[in-house]
């Protein structure tokens, strides 16, 4: 299970636009580097990351090797009603990660 850091407010006003920040621990191997035995290290990047809010996909990122190791993403959402926010990601090896938080709209 991948390590990550996630930050978002736990409580927002209805209609407010708030910031979400996510930092995932991942090597984001480009597939161009060689290991100590001169063998090519196969590409392994997070290739898909989706954010769902109230069960609906609201934001999706498809990174390539162009994002740095331990990718950091920051984006915004508009609060409509209290519900679950989830971000799911998967890498080239099929390893998955997920963060789930409940947003309370007051």
């Amino acid at each position: 299970m991948a390590q990550f850091r996630f930050d978002m407010p736990s409580q927002v006003r209805a209609g407010e636009v708030f910031k979400l920040r996510l930092l995932v621990q991942h090597p984001m191997e480009t597939g161009y580097l060689l290991d100590v035995n001169n063998q090519r290290i196969s590409r392994n990047v997070i290739n898909d990351m989706r954010c769902t809010y109230l069960g609906q996909e609201v934001f999706r990122i498809e990174p390539s090797s162009g994002l740095s190791a331990n990718p950091y993403v920051e984006f915004f959402l508009r609060a409509t009603q209290t519900g679950e926010i989830a971000i799911d990601w998967v890498d080239d090896r099929g390893e998955r990660g997920q963060v789930k938080r409940t947003l309370t709209v007051v």
């Binding site: 990122i61 994002l67 740095s68």
Partner: protein
């Protein structure tokens, strides 16, 4: 803006002439081989399958995505470094002037690199739920280049902005 440098071997080849070049290269390979570094005889950039130092034109970067649609250089803003010490992790923020309503919003956003082996660094699907068309990340860059942020609006129009960066040390350890 950094211009694409002539590779040293091309320059030498031009100076020495073909036959002298072949002789010089043989001598060089022998010398390197004797240095007990077997891998040094293989050109590293080629071993890694990279097209190093190749700079794409703006048209090459945009055309595969916009496919003939209207594209304007306005309404997209980029905040990044002017000079990066290395290309491993360069902060990059992009935001699009858009009300992000159901009628008028950004549907897609691309981060494009002029020099990286993979031109599309990231592709984003956006929508009116975001409230603000803004995205920040850290990108990996294979040297100094221009970066393009390209946005597709719900009207079908494309907008973009270009940022010039100088990267002292590339994000890939291949000398590109």
């Amino acid at each position: 803006m950094p211009s694409p440098a002539t590779p040293r071997r091309d320059w030498l080849q031009a100076c020495l002439g073909a036959s002298a070049w072949t002789a010089w290269r043989g001598a060089w390979a022998t010398w390197v081989g004797s240095a007990a570094l077997g891998l040094a005889t293989v050109p590293r950039a080629q071993a890694q399958g990279m097209v190093s130092g190749k700079l794409l034109s703006l048209r090459d970067m945009l055309d595969p995505i916009v496919a003939g649609a209207r594209v304007v250089r306005s309404g997209v803003n980029i905040e990044t470094l002017v000079l990066a010490d290395n290309g491993l992790s360069v902060p990059f923020r992009v935001w699009v002037d858009s009300p992000m309503t159901a009628q008028d919003h950004v549907t897609d956003l691309w981060l494009l690199s002029q020099r990286n082996p993979v031109t599309v660094m990231a592709k984003m699907r956006m929508g009116p739920h975001l409230g603000r068309a803004e995205f920040s990340t850290r990108v990996r860059l294979a040297g100094g280049q221009q970066l393009v942020a390209l946005a597709r609006l719900s009207s079908g129009e494309f907008r973009y902005q270009v940022a010039d960066l100088i990267v002292t040390e590339a994000g890939c350890v291949d000398g590109s």
